[in-house]
């Protein structure tokens, strides 16, 4: 009965499985979104491809997690006051709480 929905992103077949999958997605996503708000205004270290490491004050992310808006970006060539980092350039980031 869920064939009308049918996207590849939903793997479940029964109602119970579907609800369980949706509930998991809610829990995981809510925690991640909260972590992004907790990161706002904090200094974050970014490890990027090609061995590039930078730090910046985190501002915000778009909802698709494709871009991070940051301030006071310390690049190897100096400070860029306002910047956008492409998430596809980043391997990892870290901050303290």
């Amino acid at each position: 009965r869920f064939q009308a929905l049918g996207p590849a992103s939903l793997s479940s077949e029964s109602t119970a499985d579907l609800e369980q999958e949706q509930q998991s997605r809610v829990t995981l996503r809510e925690r991640y979104l909260r972590s992004l708000s907790a990161m706002a205004g904090r200094p974050v270290r970014f490890t990027m491809y090609e061995r590039v490491k930078v730090t910046a004050l985190f501002g915000a992310s778009d909802i698709d997690i494709l871009n991070f808006q940051v301030s006071e970006l310390q690049t190897p060539l100096g400070i860029q006051r306002e910047a956008l980092l492409r998430c596809s350039d980043i391997i990892a980031y870290s901050f303290e709480l």
Binding site: R31, Y32, S35, I65, I91
Partner: protein, 96 residues
């Protein structure tokens, strides 16, 4: 899409509250307690308690994840701390 990015939310959820080791792109290695895996980006969020009572939080981008190894399961006390780390209206200090 990597194997990690193709996992289902239920599969990602099984990593929450586990201590894992992640091998990422360019031979970067990360270890810590899984807070969550973002179901949109497959980014892994890890927590590591620090000596000074703070917590170091690391995000590893889903596209850069190559291998994930589970090391151990969190104690109930640790699970409690992980669950409350980002919840509003709660103390965010990490008492030892």
């Amino acid at each position: 899409m990597t194997e990690w990015q193709r996992k289902t939310p239920l599969e990602w959820l099984t990593y929450v509250n586990k201590e894992i080791e992640v091998l990422a792109a360019e031979k970067q290695n990360y270890k810590g307690w899984v807070l969550t895996v973002d179901p949109v980006s497959a980014n892994i969020l890890l927590a590591n308690p620090l000596e000074n009572g703070k917590v170091s939080v690391s995000g590893i981008l889903g596209h850069a994840v190559q291998e994930v190894k589970i090391l151990s399961e969190a104690s109930d006390a640790m699970k409690e701390k992980l669950a409350h780390l980002f919840m509003p209206g709660e103390s965010q200090t990490y008492s030892q």
